[in-house]
């Protein structure tokens, strides 16, 4: 016989067993320990509604073992306890109950200061439903999407009738069922009907059935995520029929949480489906028509029915030979660790009945969490969820009507009898007395009590306790508003974190066309926004020197690249940029910054005039998407006749930099590239190695540089040609690491690294890019006003005596210890022999400091000197070469 492991013990599995059924058959009675008081908890609902049977299965915590099929080889365990879950010494904590009232953590352990910090860990270890495993291998869950005409949640008679009706009308239908259809129903007419309906539905091409699939919630749309074993299914139906049925009313009295107290359906399911007797001597409280079926099932399975506690209207349904206690009520259950006796109040007297189990069918409460999340025209309930206890024929009729979009008026359901004592919430160990105390403290509505006491907030999400909560509030005199149901939110059932993250564990890496080429050359890649870019190729210092002394190539394909054309293109760019655009002659390029309305810089790049073909713009790699939105928003706002085309994807770009860059290109092109024909800050269409490129003379590195913008797929060809031709010139590729140093030596900023949230061009030392004489541009008004205020901080250039330099982010203080700012970029300059940095520095007394102290995170201090202008080649002779 197959078996699974339960805390080191093999547990045989019989056909159709759930884990809980197999465990119960094997003699396990304590299934868990309670959340707060570590009380013994045994099987109770056996319908997946209560928290009592939560165990760890194959390393996954909080699995509802009554709703999980037993499979050979599973490893099942309860939450660890000392010395064992059967006898947990920590259960003694209940002796200190008076010190642990509801909400105690809001009031206690907060003085003296620090007490809570010390005690919190202990409380967290003691409370809860078990530790979260941190050593599980990350699971990759896929997502599936469905767009059926109708989604039916619930594979009972109502749900199946609804699905069949819709499928018959030619609609696409998806039906999801938490378990296996029919598996949990005892033999009888209901099971026969369900199996028959299911068989018919399975044969219909319009219908899809997902079993062992959990509807997590109903979101706007509606959209219903369904967690199944194969994937997380995102269902976008036109309509939803919720046929989730009802759960039997939770019993709240002294001892009602003892092992041996059963809900009727659970006890009958165990006996009728799994052939396991829930007890030998049972007291049955039968308050619903179906409870007499349960009674018969238990009896025929061999249980002795000590007594049936029934309302007067049902006393005739008690089978002969069973003692009936009419209009009685179970008021207590007692026993050491399990039920040994129940107290029944009836006819004005109390009677104690010896038994080993009490089976309660006190009424039905709609399992309406999903329905309450989104009930409306497109999400409607049918069957027990709106009319609990309806006969089979009526439930099926309601399902068919719901499939046609017809709502069945819900039957009024009575709230349970107000509880006086006992555990209202099994998940969170909230007792009736806790609710009373919370009420006296002023939490006088369902919503407030929920938040303060955590009732309804556990794994069952109020399946059992929500009705009691409302009943309690009503009994305390709460009006309709205070008594109304609490807001239902997803998840309606416990959900795995991997389901929440389904489909999201796939980082999206943008690759340039040269990604593989660079990897092959030893590139160490790093994230740069969404892109993977080369940080270095093994020797960033050598890459740096290649740019300064020889020639080097960098893949800058990630730059934003845009075309702007149309009759209003000049007007558009004039309004957008703070620099002049109209006077930009064809073939010339201009550095430009983008400002927002507040005058703060958020992107930079080049504007290249293409003459009659409009303009070519470059934007930063990380900011291009936002900048494109900016362009399009303003074009639309101003209603100008411009066309904007994003060429970032279709064009690659290579920066060929270094004093030998011209020599290298000259070997690959016959077009004129000498300094006179093609000076700095200009661009030309040039064919390089047979590839037609828009070439920009740029100077970010501070050296003679050509940026080759080319069709993306020509990138590898161009790259190979450059390296082949430059072999004798000492050519190397360089990555971001070298680039950051090269541009820092020139004092060039990197947007977002060196800029702050309120960086105006003036604060950055870029006043020259702003032409306030222009009548209008975005940010102009703000800059004018800001210009009237004395500048309090600025991005300054600093030098540090090398070779050690402070790290990026080092804090800056003045000679008097005043905090002045921080470094945004800091490196040792090999060519200058000392440290160079950019940093935000605050002016004191209207003056910039001459000297600062930098304190980095490693506790080191560096004395720095404020300098003006670029550190390297301040006149720009090299880049203009």
């Amino acid at each position: 016989m197959p078996n699974f492991d339960f805390e080191g013990r093999p547990i045989p599995i019989e056909a159709g067993d759930s884990i809980a059924a197999a465990l119960y058959r094997a003699g396990v009675r304590v299934f868990s320990r309670s959340f707060k008081y570590r009380r013994r908890r045994g099987l109770y609902c056996v319908t997946g509604d209560c928290p009592n049977c939560l165990m760890t299965v194959d390393g996954e915590p909080a699995v509802r073992t009554c709703a999980t099929k037993a499979r050979a080889g599973q490893r099942v365990a309860r939450r660890p306890a000392w010395p064992s879950p059967d006898f947990d010494l920590m259960a003694g904590i209940r002796l200190f109950k008076r010190f642990l009232p509801v909400g105690f953590y809001y009031k206690m352990f907060h003085r003296p200061k620090g007490t809570w910090d010390r005690i919190e860990g202990f409380i967290r270890r003691m409370a809860g439903i078990g530790p979260v495993p941190l050593d599980l291998a990350p699971a990759k869950r896929e997502r599936r999407t469905h767009h059926p005409d109708l989604l039916v949640v619930g594979g009972g008679a109502t749900g199946l009738a609804a699905a069949t009706e819709a499928a018959g009308a030619g609609q696409s239908v998806l039906l999801v069922e938490e378990g296996t259809i029919g598996d949990q129903i005892a033999a009888g007419p209901v099971r026969d009907a369900v199996l028959q309906l299911a068989a018919a539905l399975r044969s219909r091409p319009e219908a899809t059935i997902l079993e062992e699939a959990l509807a997590i919630g109903v979101y706007e749309g509606p959209m219903v995520p369904v967690a199944a074993s194969d994937a997380l299914h995102l269902v976008f139906p036109k309509r939803v029929v919720v046929a989730t049925g009802a759960v039997e009313e939770h019993a709240v009295f002294d001892g009602s949480d003892l092992p041996g107290v059963w809900l009727g359906r659970g006890a009958a399911r165990l006996a009728g489906v799994h052939r396991v007797l829930p007890g030998k001597r049972l007291v049955v409280a039968a308050g619903t028509p179906e409870s007499f079926d349960h009674l018969a099932t238990l009896r025929s399975a061999g249980a002795e029915i000590v007594a049936a506690v029934v309302p007067a209207a049902m006393k005739d349904r008690v089978p002969p030979g069973i003692r009936a206690i009419v209009d009685g009520r179970v008021t207590a259950a007692t026993g050491r660790g399990a039920v040994a006796e129940v107290t029944v109040e009836g006819g004005g007297r109390l009677e104690r009945l010896a038994c080993d189990g009490v089976v309660l069918s006190l009424g039905l409460v709609p399992r309406a969490s999903l329905l309450r999340q989104a009930e409306g025209d497109r999400v409607i309930g049918a069957g027990d969820v709106t009319t609990p206890g309806a006969p089979l024929a009526a439930a099926m009729a309601a399902g068919r009507a719901a499939a046609r979009g017809e709502k069945t008026p819900p039957a009024p359901t009575a709230l349970p009898r107000p509880c006086q004592s006992g555990f209202v919430c099994l998940c969170e160990d909230v007792e009736a007395g806790d609710l009373k105390q919370a009420w006296t403290e002023g939490f006088q509505s369902t919503e407030l009590l929920k938040r303060y006491s955590t009732v309804t907030m556990g794994p069952c999400q109020g399946s059992l306790c929500h009705a009691h909560l409302r009943s309690f509030v009503k009994d305390q005199g709460g009006d309709e508003l205070r008594t109304r149901p609490t807001t239902a939110r997803p998840p309606a059932r416990p959900v795995r974190l991997e389901d929440v993250a389904a489909g999201a564990r796939y980082p999206l890496e943008y690759h340039t066309a040269l990604h593989d080429r660079q990897i092959a050359m030893g590139a160490v890649m790093e994230w740069a926004g969404a892109w993977k870019r080369a940080d270095h190729f093994g020797d960033p210092v050598a890459e740096y020197w290649a740019v300064r002394r020889d020639v080097s190539v960098m893949d800058v394909s990630t730059l934003g690249k845009y075309r702007v054309a149309g009759p209003d293109a000049v007007e558009f760019l004039e309004r957008l940029y703070p620099c002049h655009v109209a006077n930009l002659a064809p073939g010339r390029s201009r550095y430009a910054v983008m400002l927002n309305e507040a005058g703060y810089l958020f992107d930079d790049g080049l504007i290249c005039s293409l003459g009659p073909d409009g303009f070519y713009l470059t934007l930063t790699s990380g900011g291009a998407d936002a900048a494109e939105s900016w362009l399009r928003d303003w074009a639309e706002t101003w209603n100008l006749r411009v066309q904007i085309a994003n060429q970032s994807l279709s064009l690659g770009a290579l920066n060929v930099a270094g004093p030998k860059a011209r020599d290298l290109l000259a070997r690959l092109t016959s077009d004129p590239i000498d300094g006179e024909s093609f000076p700095y800050s200009q661009h030309r269409w040039i064919t390089v190695a047979g590839v037609r490129c828009l070439v920009l003379r740029v100077g970010f590195t501070g050296e003679l540089s050509y940026e080759l913008h080319h069709p993306r797929l020509e990138g590898p060809k161009l790259w190979d040609a450059l390296f082949e031709a430059g072999r004798d010139l000492g050519i190397r590729p360089h990555g971001l690491g070298a680039l950051r140093l090269l541009r820092l030596e020139k004092g060039h900023i990197i947007v977002n690294q060196d800029t702050d949230y309120d960086s105006t061009p003036a604060k950055l030392g870029l006043d020259w890019v702003v032409k306030l004489e222009k009548p209008t541009f975005v940010g102009r008004t703000a800059l004018e006003r800001i210009g009237q205020i004395p500048r309090e901080k600025g991005l300054l250039s600093l030098t540090f005596a090398g070779p050690d330099t402070p790290a990026d982010g080092a804090q800056l203080v003045g000679v008097d210890g005043t905090h002045l700012g921080y470094l945004t970029s800091s490196r040792f300059s090999p060519i200058l022999g000392h440290g160079v940095a950019l940093g935000w520095v605050r002016a004191t007394g209207g003056r910039w400091p001459d000297r600062v102290m930098a304190h980095d995170g490693a506790g080191r201090r560096f004395e720095g000197t404020v300098v003006h202008g670029p550190f390297y080649d301040p006149k720009g002779d090299r880049l203009r070469a």
Binding site: K140, E142, R143, R144, T145, H146, H147, L234, F236, G503, Y506, L508, E509, Y510, H511, T512, A513, W531, R563, A565, G566, P567, G614, R641, Q643, I644, A645, Q647, S648, L649, S650, L651, G652, P711, R712, L713, E714
Partner: protein
């Protein structure tokens, strides 16, 4: 059988006024109206220059303010063919498959901004070239249980025609 292959396609984007784009005709290209002010001419890669010429002629004769941009290199095109192609689509996109053929769906595909052209008995995925590898890997991951087979890259010459007009084909 389910088959996936990379396709060689030429894409020329035409940015212009809606009315002018309505008048853009082609006898050998598929016209994808991806936005009211943007239309793509799509044909086999071997017809790249032909598309550019057509677009430039249209610009010269119909909308001098328009912008014609060769976007061929900017997009990776993957074709999924076979009975389960809609199942594959459902595993990559939360959008419903559009009705009618040819049809165009635009939106996120496995987290990537893309477009799916349902035409010529297959689903053709257009995604930005820098993330083409990502979509291919995600199709492989999500649909390996469907018997997916990879086929060599070929040119895709879509049947000439138009998908949508005045932006009506833009679905999310």
């Amino acid at each position: 059988m389910l088959e996936i292959r990379s396709r060689e396609v030429a894409i020329v984007a035409c940015h212009g006024g809606a009315a002018a784009l309505d008048r853009l005709a082609s006898t050998d290209a598929l016209r994808l109206r991806i936005a009211p002010d943007e239309l793509w001419l799509v044909a086999g890669r071997s017809n790249r220059q032909g598309l550019l010429d057509q677009a430039e002629r249209w610009r010269a004769t119909t909308d001098g303010n328009a912008l014609v941009v060769d976007q061929t290199d900017g997009w990776t095109v993957l074709t999924v063919a076979g009975d389960e192609r809609l199942e594959v689509f459902g595993r990559l996109s939360v959008a419903p498959p559009p009705a009618g053929r040819p049809a165009l769906s635009q939106g996120a595909l496995a987290g990537v901004p893309g477009k799916v052209l349902f035409a010529d008995g297959a689903a053709h995925y257009f995604v930005p070239a820098p993330v083409g590898h990502h979509l291919e890997a995600r199709i492989r991951d999500t649909s390996h249980d469907l018997g997916l087979q990879f086929a060599p890259a070929t040119e895709y010459r879509p049947t000439a025609g138009a998908v949508g007009g005045n932006g009506t084909a833009v679905t999310r």
